[in-house]
């Protein structure tokens, strides 16, 4: 059995405009989502995340490339695996004139799921009491919950969630986050597309970052956080002397802002920093390693990509090498 639940190779999606122009939304994307856990799928607006998800779910046709889900080719074998996939794509889309329960019942009947599963799903997402109200009267958060309830009807092995916490209040976001984490721990593979990078970092075990339809980085979250330069925050009585000493030893130093006594030093070896400062007779008040977060990794990668010198600029730069 393959360790990958989702695998794409050279996946490409082109849109032709009415004027005959060609826009490439997804550019030869190689995506690999490992079995189990929560996999973040990150990228700025218009980077091709939703288009990729829509191709995986058979809602859009790929222009080129290969896709597999659970080892089955997509879209030809999608009917064989769709019962194992729950998905929320973009905003929740239900019939506005039907109640939440009616919408779920229609979907459940289509796949032969008993009515009791609808009750369970409604209860799981906390819509009990409002499930008989019309969908159009729901708040955005309630619509999101209903969409998640729909995915739970199938008891899926793979959950694809595109911005699932949109419109939710902080308590709702926490509930969804806990649900996602819980599903991941129970062996359900979750592909989570989100802009809220702190959320992703908290729940995801691995992630893929794309920009302009191209793969920018992919791997375990810890690996991604280790990419790029690390830094330490150094507090001393004489920042100017410390800056001079560290600069002389070849460290990149960010000078303190007005009124600050701390300087930022690019280094993944704090012991080296203390040694240089000690040899210069400068004694530390505090030294704090600056932990990179997913947001900074994401911004570095996507900004570099936007400027046209992203990590995939080189023709030989493979995705794993980029991570």
């Amino acid at each position: 059995m393959s360790d990958l639940v989702i695998e794409t190779s050279g996946l490409r999606k082109e849109f032709r405009s009415r004027r005959g122009g060609l826009r490439v939304a997804v550019h030869d994307l190689d995506l690999a989502v490992p079995r189990g856990g929560v996999h973040g799928f990150l990228g700025p607006n218009g980077s091709g995340k939703t288009t990729t998800i829509r191709m995986l779910l058979g809602l859009a046709r790929a222009s080129k490339g290969r896709m597999e889900v659970f080892g089955h080719p997509i879209p030809s074998a999608l009917p064989q695996v769709i019962d194992r996939i729950g998905a929320v794509v973009e905003s929740p889309k239900f019939s506005p004139h039907f109640s939440g329960r009616q919408n779920l019942l229609l979907l459940a009947r289509a796949i032969g799921v008993p009515r009791s599963r609808v009750d369970e799903a409604v209860e799981t997402v906390g819509l009990t009491g409002r499930d008989k109200d019309r969908f159009k009267s729901y708040s955005l958060g309630m619509k999101q919950r209903l969409a998640i309830a729909a995915t739970l009807l199938k008891d899926p092995d793979l959950l694809i969630l595109d911005e699932p916490t949109n419109g939710l209040d902080p308590a709702g976001i926490r509930e969804i986050r806990d649900t996602i984490r819980d599903l991941g721990e129970r062996g359900v593979t979750v592909l989570l597309s989100s802009h809220i990078l702190a959320e992703v970092q908290q729940v995801c075990t691995s992630a893929t970052i794309i920009g302009n339809g191209r793969l920018l980085a992919s791997g375990n979250v810890d690996e991604l956080l280790r990419t790029g330069p690390s830094a330490v925050r150094v507090e001393v009585d004489d920042p100017a002397a410390a800056r001079s000493a560290l600069g002389g030893a070849g460290f990149a130093v960010v000078p303190p802002t007005a009124g600050e006594t701390a300087i930022l030093v690019e280094s993944d070896a704090p012991s080296e920093v203390t040694r240089v400062l000690g040899e210069a007779g400068i004694w530390l008040s505090a030294l704090t390693p600056i932990r990179r977060d997913l947001e900074s990794v994401f911004l570095e990668l996507t900004e570099a990509d936007t400027l046209g010198h992203g990590p995939d600029a080189g023709p030989d730069a493979g995705p794993e090498a980029r991570a």
Partner: protein
């Protein structure tokens, strides 16, 4: 497939806009039936006596004698050129009769087949076309189509289940409603001791069945076009444009009237339809039309030809709709 069909039937039943249209489908023949019943209320003895007196007085007017003479001199001008008994034919055509002076006319089922029967079938067809278009349009306008396809990815099955639901509901409802209409009129004629043989009822019911077929095809057409255009408004707009511009184009280009949709609709519902064609000027230059020249201005379009015409349109719309739905991305 059965579960999908049941889902689509439920979806259809739960849509209020469609329910309203289906209620209108039931209401239209009721309104027509009541109007026919009121317009054909049998006249009282006093009404008949008054009408007979008026007809007698009118028959004594000098112009009647003049007209009778003219008719016998130029029977072609009065449309009785082929009559074997010219005098009787002219009298029937010109001499006033009491029924001309009655405010209500007798209920004539044969006449109703051409008049209200066709109108009711046409109204029902338009309403069911809108129902089919609304049913499909709602899936697209709400965006719920993509959600449905996340549960059943085989698009042909989804398309077919929806089409079956539309055709089943519209076909059955229109069959019941049109049959009810004719049975009601037939019963009314029978209660008034008017001609109402079983043969007439069978003819009327056959009209009803053909009308139901047309209505079901119209509903299917509305559904198929909306699945193609992905918008109810676009479907209605295109159909209006085709109805107006298409009819005008056929008239302007001098294309035979048998290609008008309404002529073919009449042919299918009524078993055949007559339409007029332009004949060469030579037809009018001599008393007798030249040999070998077709000077018959009135032609008959058989139901078979009308069925082929309407069927081809429906098959075209259905094929384009399926192809589009299977291939195009779903928003």
């Amino acid at each position: 497939m059965r579960s999908l069909l049941r889902v689509e039937l439920t979806r259809l039943r739960w849509r209020r806009a469609i329910l309203l249209l289906l209620v209108a489908v039931v209401a239209v023949p009721v309104v027509f039936g009541v109007a026919v019943a009121l317009e054909t209320v049998p006249p009282t003895a006093s009404d008949r006596a008054t009408a007979a007196r008026q007809a007698e007085q009118e028959a004594e007017q000098p112009y009647v004698e003049d007209e009778l003479a003219n008719c016998q001199d130029s029977p072609q001008d009065y449309g009785v050129g082929d009559a074997s008994d010219l005098e009787a034919a002219c009298e029937e055509m010109i001499v006033p009769r009491p029924e001309w002076y009655l405010a209500t006319q007798e209920l004539d089922l044969v006449q109703q087949r051409d008049d209200t029967g066709l109108a009711v079938a046409a109204f029902i067809s338009v309403l069911l076309l809108l129902a089919g278009a609304t049913f499909a349009g709602h899936d697209w306008s709400s965006g719920s189509m993509s959600n449905q396809l996340l549960f059943e990815t085989r698009r042909l099955r989804v398309w077919t289940a929806k089409a079956l639901a539309v055709v089943l509901v519209s076909g059955l409802l229109s069959l019941v409603v049109l049959s009810g209409y004719w049975v009601a009129l037939w019963s009314l004629a029978r209660s008034r001791d008017l001609p109402s043989s079983n043969a007439i009822l069978v003819d009327c019911l056959q009209d009803g069945a053909r009308g139901a077929l047309v209505a079901a095809l119209a509903a299917f057409g509305g559904y198929a076009l909306t699945m193609l255009f992905r918008s109810t408004v676009a479907t209605v707009g295109v159909l209006l444009a085709v109805a107006v511009a298409g009819g005008a184009l056929i008239a302007v280009l001098g294309i035979d009237a048998k290609y008008q949709p309404q002529t073919n609709l009449s042919a299918v519902v009524l078993d055949d339809a007559t339409y007029n064609v332009e004949v060469p000027d030579e037809c009018f230059m001599q008393a007798e039309p030249p040999e070998g020249l077709d000077c018959d201005e009135e032609k008959v379009l058989p139901a078979r030809d009308g069925s082929i015409y309407l069927g081809s349109l429906v098959v075209l719309a259905g094929a384009a709709s399926v192809l589009s739905f299977r291939r195009r991305d779903v928003p």
